[in-house]
């Protein structure tokens, strides 16, 4: 507990970590306050259509083709992005850690089988596979999350496997076998805590990637039709790109800033969790 608090403190003192944390806090704030600030929801036709930003103080970002408030849509969209991003990342991390740890620890034919499976997933273009999955089983938040997670886990699996391969030869792991510890306990209690640093760093990139994929799916019309996501707004504004470009610009900026903040945090975490750089931050 003190260790993770210490990590957070050092992260906040890291320049890009600080900027990243501030930005992501802003997005989190938007997600939390969306229904307080906009009780009517993002779908309400609140004003005249295609209202340019700044022309009406009630709609600072203007309205879309149906007269829906874009600021409200951006706020509600942050919820979808964060939720899909975080849950898809968690699912793929859980899957990747499981596959990577088992493959690396047991080696032999188990390793071969699991790594060929990983290869199989990596040879298919990720985004196409996500599109195919959503296209087949239908679009809802959970299927989209699943479709993103199922293509992202191989990266984590390879990362964890490499570290487990290195750690399993350490004497302390051998010592655990000699005292009679079970293999599962050795993997999860002794080895995995020692290889979490690269996984944590990758997580932020994974979340960012999941957010992009979700927005891309929604942009292509494969988003959950019942939720307002940034991709949904992009999709709606596509036809109006010449006349009302602000409809696509504002969700695009929101996307860029969110993904940027996650990447900044990833970079900072890389420095903070690197034991050789401890003195510098």
């Amino acid at each position: 507990m003190t260790r993770s608090f210490e990590t957070l403190r050092r992260l906040a003192h890291h320049p890009s970590g600080f900027v990243g944390l501030m930005l992501i806090a802003l997005v989190l704030g938007m997600a939390v306050s969306a229904n307080l600030l906009f009780p009517d929801g993002p779908w309400a036709m609140a004003g005249p259509p295609r209202l340019a930003p700044g022309s009406d103080p009630r709609f600072p970002l203007g309205t879309d083709t149906f007269g829906r408030d874009l600021l409200s849509a951006i706020f509600y969209g942050s919820r979808v992005s964060l939720m899909v991003g975080v849950s898809a990342a968690l699912v793929s991390i859980a899957l990747g850690i499981l596959v990577g740890a088992v493959a690396g620890y047991f080696g032999g034919w188990v390793d071969d089988a699991l790594m060929r499976l990983t290869d199989a997933f990596q040879t298919v273009p990720n985004f196409l596979l996500s599109i195919a999955i959503v296209g087949i089983i239908g679009a809802s938040l959970s299927t989209i999350t699943f479709a993103i997670a199922i293509v992202a886990w191989p990266m984590i699996a390879r990362l964890v496997r490499a570290d487990v391969l290195r750690l399993r030869t350490y004497d302390f792991v051998q010592s655990c076998k000699i005292i009679g510890m079970s293999d599962m306990r050795i993997i999860f209690q002794q080895i995995l805590p020692n290889c979490m640093a690269p996984v944590i760093v990758t997580t932020s990139v994974l979340v960012a990637n999941a957010i992009i994929v979700e927005a891309s799916l929604a942009f292509l019309g494969l988003g959950d039709p019942n939720v307002m996501s940034w991709g949904t707004i992009l999709n709606a504004g596509r036809q109006e790109l010449r006349g009302a470009s602000w409809i696509t610009i504002s969700p695009a900026i929101a996307l860029v800033l969110t993904v940027l903040s996650l990447n900044l945090i990833g970079d900072a975490l890389n420095d903070v969790l690197n034991p050789r750089l401890k003195e510098r931050t």
Binding site: D171, F172, K177, I178, I179, G180, S182, Q190, N194
Partner: protein
């Protein structure tokens, strides 16, 4: 009475791309209760592989290992059974301790895994052992990286002793320590042996250290034992040319008089060992018979030696 450890024709062969690597090639050993058997040999001679087999983290290709008369099985129950009788101390004291766990947890872990007593009993037991190996309460709250090499090795010893094993396998247990700390740890091991009636398999490339702690010494070359016997007899009445070369390599006055015995060349490839006696390629006494016929261990005086000409070459 059953010996604490007995191995019969123990073999460990690895299949490599270039052929079968015979890391351990037919080893018969026994260690009695309260006895220390020193095992010496160059790196790569199979000492560590033998150690890993005895503690159960490598599986022998052939032959058997009996600990207190019981041959271990493969499953989880066998792993737990074995843990109660044989434990190991490693060479590198920093790699042998999980860097993320506190020292008290590291020492208590064997008790937790084997469900010895309840929580508070385990804590008391860990504290008691820590004191026995010369650690204080202060050290128990530390992380491994906050301790010195000698202290870490004491933590390893405490962890190994937690389950009251009969046999401790010490694989180069003091080789990574400073000379002054080496002496402390060696004395600790000797004291613990007296107090607890432990048996040691003490593996090292350092003959002086092995001579100091061992009752008997076995000399290993390319997966086989070439000479074994009471420590001082092997030391002073060395018979095998390889043992003579090893003792001659110690830089001290007495040994320097045995001139011309220093080893030359490298250990031959264990994938394609020489025919007959494996040592003949580096042996200055080698004759025709050495290439034709592999010498088996045979009794000569107080110890056993695997050399056709053990009697004739002694000076």
């Amino acid at each position: 009475m059953n010996p604490v450890l007995r191995t019969d024709h123990l073999k460990v062969h690895h299949d490599t791309a270039r052929g079968t690597l015979k890391a351990v090639d037919g080893i018969d050993l026994s260690i009695a209760e309260g006895e220390t058997l020193g095992l010496v040999g160059e790196s790569g001679c199979g000492k560590s592989t033998l150690a890993r087999c005895i503690v159960g983290i490598s599986r022998p290709t052939d032959g058997s290992i009996a600990i207190q008369g019981v041959s271990g099985g493969r499953g989880r129950a066998a792993r737990l059974d074995r843990a109660q009788t044989v434990q190991m101390i490693f060479q590198d004291p920093s790699g042998a301790l999980n860097p993320r766990l506190r020292v008290d947890r590291i020492i208590r872990e064997p008790l937790d895994v084997n469900n010895v007593g309840d929580r508070s009993e385990r804590r008391d037991k860990a504290l008691k052992i820590a004191r026995e190996v010369g650690l204080s309460d202060y050290h128990l709250d530390r992380m491994p990286h906050e301790l010195s090499g000698g202290q870490r090795q004491r933590v390893s010893i405490a962890r190994a002793l937690a389950l009251n094993p009969k046999l401790l396998v010490c694989d180069e247990a003091v080789s990574a320590l400073d000379v002054s700390v080496q002496a402390q740890v060696l004395n600790l091991l000797v004291d613990l042996q007296k107090d607890l009636g432990l048996s040691y398999l003490f593996i090292s490339h350092d003959l002086a250290v092995v001579r100091y702690v061992s009752h008997r010494i076995a000399v290993m070359y390319m997966g086989r034992i070439v000479e074994i016997g009471p420590a001082e007899d092997v030391w002073r009445g060395r018979l095998h040319p390889y043992t003579r070369a090893l003792t001659a390599s110690i830089p001290d006055e007495a040994a320097r008089r045995d001139t011309g015995e220093l080893l030359e060349g490298d250990v031959p490839s264990p994938v394609s060992p020489p025919s007959g006696c494996a040592f003949r390629t580096r042996c200055r006494f080698a004759r025709q018979q050495c290439a034709a016929e592999r010498p088996e261990l045979r009794r000569v005086g107080t110890h056993e030696v695997a050399c056709h000409f053990a009697e004739t070459i002694s000076d």
